[in-house]
Amino acid sequence: MTASKARPALDTPYQSSRLAGLLAQALLLGLIALLLAAIIAPITALLLKSFLDQQGAFIGLGNFARYIGEPGLAVAIWNSVSLSTISTALTLAIAFPYAFALHRSDIPLKGLFRVIMLAPLLAPSMLPAFGMIYLFGNQGLLKSWLMGGTIYGPIGIVSASVFHALPHAILILSAGLASGDQRLYEAARALKASPARTFVQVTLPSCHYALISAGCVVFVSVFTDFGIPTVIGGSTNVLATDIYKQVIGRFDFELGAVVGVLLLTPALIAYGVDVLARRSQRATFSGRSVPVALRANRSRDVACLVLVTLVTVAILGIIGMAIYGSLVRFWPYNLALGMHNYHKALSDPDELRTLTNSLVLATATAAVGTCLVAMSGWMVSRKAFPAGLTQALQGLAMVPVAVPGLVLGLGYVFFFNNPANPLHILQGSMALLVLCTIAHFYTVPHLMAVGGLIKLDREVDLAAQALRSGPAATGRRIHVAVLGPTLIDIAGYLFVNAMTTVSALMFLFNAQTRVAAIAVVNMTEGSRFGQATALAVLVMLICLAATALQMALRSLIIRRQAWRRQER
C-alpha cells in the first residue's frame, strides 16, 4: 500500500481558488447591494418623503400635523386598530383548536382537512369577501341571517379577514403544537394533574411563542390589508384604504407617506414583540425530547372533529358560493348558470392581458426569486464568508417581513419614479413589479433556504475543502441536491403569492402591466361583480394548478433522491 504514495496520475492539480473566492465575495456584495436597492432604499424614500413638503424642503413633522388635522383620521385609526384586534382574537380562537385537532387528537382524514384549510391561501384575499357578499350581501342568499345588519362594513371586514388569515395562523400554531415533549405529559400524569390543568400548565406554555407569533402576523396582515376593506368595507374607512385615497385619489404624496409610516408602526412593534418572545422562549424541544403520543380520548376527538368539520364546511361554503356566484349570469336577476362571466373576462383583451401579466409576474418572481433566495440562503447558512457581511445579508433578508405591501409599494413609487434616480428607467415596467414582489416576499423563502441547508454540518464543507473542492464546486455537487425539494417549495410559495398579491402593486402598475388581482379590485369598484369573481376564481385555479405541479415535482425529486430515505 505504501506504493500508493507515488501515483502521478492521481495528483490533484493545484487549483487556484483565490479567483473563485473573490468572485464569490463579489456575488455576496452584489446581492447585498441589490437588497439594499430593492428594500431599504424605497422604505427610506418613503420615510424621507413624510418629512418633506411638495417642494422637497424639510418640514419636520409638518405633514404629520396636517394629517392629524384631517377629518375622519381618528375614525380610520380606531377602525383599523379595533377591527384588527377583533379579527386577531377570532382567528386565534378558531386556529388554535384547529391546529390542536390536527396534531393532538385522533380524528380521521387529517390530510384532507389540512389541504382544504390551506385553500384560502391560493386565492386573492378578495375571494372570501365575494363569497360572503353573495351569501350575506344586499341581494345575498342568506341575508336574513344578519337580522337587519349589513355585511358591508365591520362585520364583512372581520369575517373576510378571519377567513383570509386562518391558514397563516393555523400553520404557525401547527409548528408550535407539532413539536411537543411526551415526557412532560407523562410527568404531569404521574403527578395526577387533571386534563384541564395539564392543558394550561403543559400544552399552552409549550406553544406560547407560536401564539404570540401567530397573533402578530395576523394583526399586521389585517391592519395593512387593502383588498378586503375595499371590496366589503362599505363606508368603513381604515388606514389601508386611506393611503390609497391620499395618493391615488388626491395625489397628496406627502400625506400618503405619512399614512405609510403609520402603517409601518404596528409591523415594527409586532416584529419587536416577536423578537423578544423568541428570546424568552426556552428551548422546549431538545434532541432528547420524545414525540407526543396521543392518549385515547373519545370526547376530545369528537369535539375536535365537530370543530374541524364546521370550519371546513364554512371554508368550502364560502369559496363554493363565490364559484357559484361567478357562474351565475346576472345576480340576482338571472340565475341561469353559464360561463358568461368567464367569457367576458377572457374575451376582453384588456382583461386577458391582466391574466397573462399575472402569469408573467408570478413565473418571473418564482424563477428569479428562487435563484436569489437560494444564493442568500446558501451564503448565510454555510458560513464561508466574513461574518459581518453575512450578518448584513441576513438582516436585510429579514426586513421585508416587517414591511406591509402598501408601504413597500408606495416607497417604490417615491424611489423609482424620482427623475434624479438612474434606476428611473424601470418605472412602470414589469421588471419593477417583479423586483417589488420578490422584495415583498423575500423573508420566508430565504428562511426556508437557510433551514434547508443549516442541518448540513459545517464539517461537510471542511471535508470537501480538504478534498480540494472549493465553495462553488461543493455547492454544485452537494448543497444543490440537499436543497432540491426546498427550492421547489420556495418557487411554489413565490408563484402563489405573486399571483394573489394586491397591496404592493397597487401603486406601481400602469395600463400595460396591470395584473389580475388588481383588475379584480378595480372591477368591484365599477360593480362588474360577476366578472370580478370569475377573474378571482381563475386566479385561484391557476394557483391550484401551480401547487399541484409543485407537489408533483417535489415527490418526483424525492423519489429520485434515494438517499433521503432512512433505512438501516
Binding site: M1, K5, A9, L462
Partner: protein
C-alpha cells in the same frame, strides 16, 4: 513488528525519524483567551501521535490550525520540510476525519470515497480502481452502493477514513473520530484504525480525550492542558512517569498526598514516606507524593516489603477484573489510600473494618507538582 512500539525507539519523547510535520511556537487567541499557547512538537514519518487532553484544552483548535481551517496568530507549521503556515487548506497535503463523519449525504459510499478523485487528471477507470482498492482496505466493498443514512456509525467512520486517504495524503488528521461511537465499537475500531495506519504507512495525528484510546494506539502521546503542551512521550512514559499531577490524574487513577514534612531523613506526605536516598532532584512547587493504586502492595506482599504499615479497610468495590480497596493507614485517617488488586489474587474479598498490611514501594512513588 509489535503493534506497540518498544521503548528503544523513542526514549526521550523526541522522534528519531525524519519529521513529516513540525510545529513551532504556535499560538492562537480567540478574543481574550489564548486557546493554543506556544505549542511546539514534531511528528515523524509514519508515526501515530495522539494529542490528548480534557475538553477545552485547545487540541481541536491545534488540529484545525494544522489543517489550515484556522489561521495561527504566531508560529510555524511545516509539512515535509515545506513551510505551510500561510497556505490555505486545499494547498496542504492532508486528509481529515471528523467526529461527525461529515459524509456527503447525497452520494453513495463509492461516491464519497471517490469525491476527491473526481477533480484529478485520473481516468474514470483509474478512479474506480482506486475506490475499489480503498473500500477493500476498510472492508466495505459490499456496501459500495449504499448511502450514508443506511450505514451504522462504525461503517460511516470507515467511509470517512477511506475518503480521507483517497488522495494519498502525507498526513492524516483525526478529530476525535471514535467519540460518537458505542464503547465496544470504539474499542474494536481503534485497533482497526491502528492496523490501517500501519499498512498504509501514513503519518497520523489524532486528537482525543480518551486516555485508553491514546494508550492503545499511539506511538507517542502529547498531553495538553489549557493550550499548552504538558508532556510528550511514549504511552509508558506518560503513564508511569507523568510530568505532573495533572497528567498523572488524566491518565488514570492516582493517589496523591500533599507533602506535609521535609526533614533530614526524607519527605513525608500523609501515610507515605520517601527516604532522601530514594528521592532525587529538588521539590517542585506544591509537590505531592503519588503512587498508582495498582502499585500499592497489600497483605503478604506488603509484609515482605521494607516498611509495611497497618491499615483498615474502609470500602470494597468489586470492578470485575480488579477490586478497588479504600484503606485508612493508622494515624493518617484523613488521607485514605486507594489500592487496586487483580480479582484473581483475592478469592476472598476483605470486609469493611478488616485489618490489612499496606506498603508503598519506593520505586513506584513519584514526586509531582500539581501542574497548576
Amino acid at each position: 513488528m509489535n503493534v506497540h512500539q518498544s521503548d528503544t525507539r523513542l526514549q526521550n519523547g523526541a522522534t528519531q525519524v525524519a519529521p513529516f510535520l513540525s510545529v513551532g511556537g504556535l499560538s492562537k487567541r480567540f478574543g481574550q483567551s489564548t486557546v493554543v499557547d506556544d505549542v511546539a512538537f514534531e511528528v515523524g514519518r509514519s508515526e501515530f501521535v495522539c494529542v490528548l487532553g480534557p475538553s477545552g484544552c485547545g487540541k481541536t483548535t491545534l488540529l484545525r490550525l494544522i489543517a489550515g481551517f484556522e489561521r495561527a496568530d504566531k508560529g510555524v507549521i511545516a509539512m515535509n520540510g515545506v513551510d505551510v503556515t500561510t497556505r490555505r487548506p486545499e494547498e496542504r497535503d492532508f486528509g481529515i476525519v471528523f467526529q461527525s463523519y461529515a459524509l456527503f449525504p447525497n452520494r453513495t459510499v463509492a461516491g464519497n470515497v471517490g469525491f476527491g478523485l473526481e477533480a484529478t487528471r485520473a481516468s474514470g477507470a483509474q478512479q474506480q480502481a482506486r475506490v475499489a482498492e480503498l473500500l477493500t482496505l476498510v472492508g466495505l466493498t459490499e456496501h459500495a452502493g449504499k448511502y450514508p443514512s443506511q450505514l451504522s456509525g462504525g461503517q460511516q467512520q470507515r467511509v470517512a477514513l477511506a475518503r480521507a486517504l483517497a488522495l494519498s495524503p502525507g498526513l492524516l488528521l483525526l478529530d476525535e473520530p471514535l467519540s460518537a461511537l458505542d464503547a465496544n465499537v470504539r474499542a474494536r475500531l481503534r485497533l482497526e484504525l491502528l492496523a490501517l495506519q500501519r499498512r498504509v504507512g501514513v503519518t497520523a495525528l489524532m486528537v482525543t480525550h480518551d486516555q485508553q484510546e491514546a494508550l492503545a494506539v499511539a506511538d507517542r502521546i502529547i498531553v495538553m492542558n489549557r493550550g499548552r503542551i504538558v508532556q510528550c512521550g511514549t504511552p509508558r512514559q506518560v503513564f508511569e512517569t507523568p510530568a505532573d499531577l495533572f497528567v498523572a490524574r488524566f491518565m488514570g487513577e492516582m493517589n496523591a498526598f500533599p507533602i506535609t514534612g521535609v526533614d533530614h531523613d526524607g519527605v513525608e506526605a500523609g501515610p507515605v514516606r520517601l527516604m532522601l536516598a530514594e528521592a532525587s532532584g529538588s521539590l517542585p512547587a506544591r509537590a505531592h507524593l503519588c503512587i498508582r493504586p495498582g502499585a500499592v502492595l497489600i497483605g503478604a506482599e506488603a509484609e515482605a516489603a521494607p516498611r509495611p504499615l497497618a491499615a483498615r479497610v474502609r470500602q470494597v468495590l468489586y470492578l470485575g477484573d480488579t477490586v478497588r480497596l479504600t484503606l485508612q493507614v493508622g494515624g493518617h485517617e484523613a488521607t485514605p489510600v486507594n489500592a487496586e488488586i487483580p480479582s484473581a489474587r483475592l478469592p476472598l474479598l476483605p470486609s469493611i473494618g478488616d485489618a490489612v498490611a499496606v506498603a508503598f514501594p519506593a520505586g513506584q512513588v513519584r514526586i509531582l507538582g500539581d501542574g497548576a
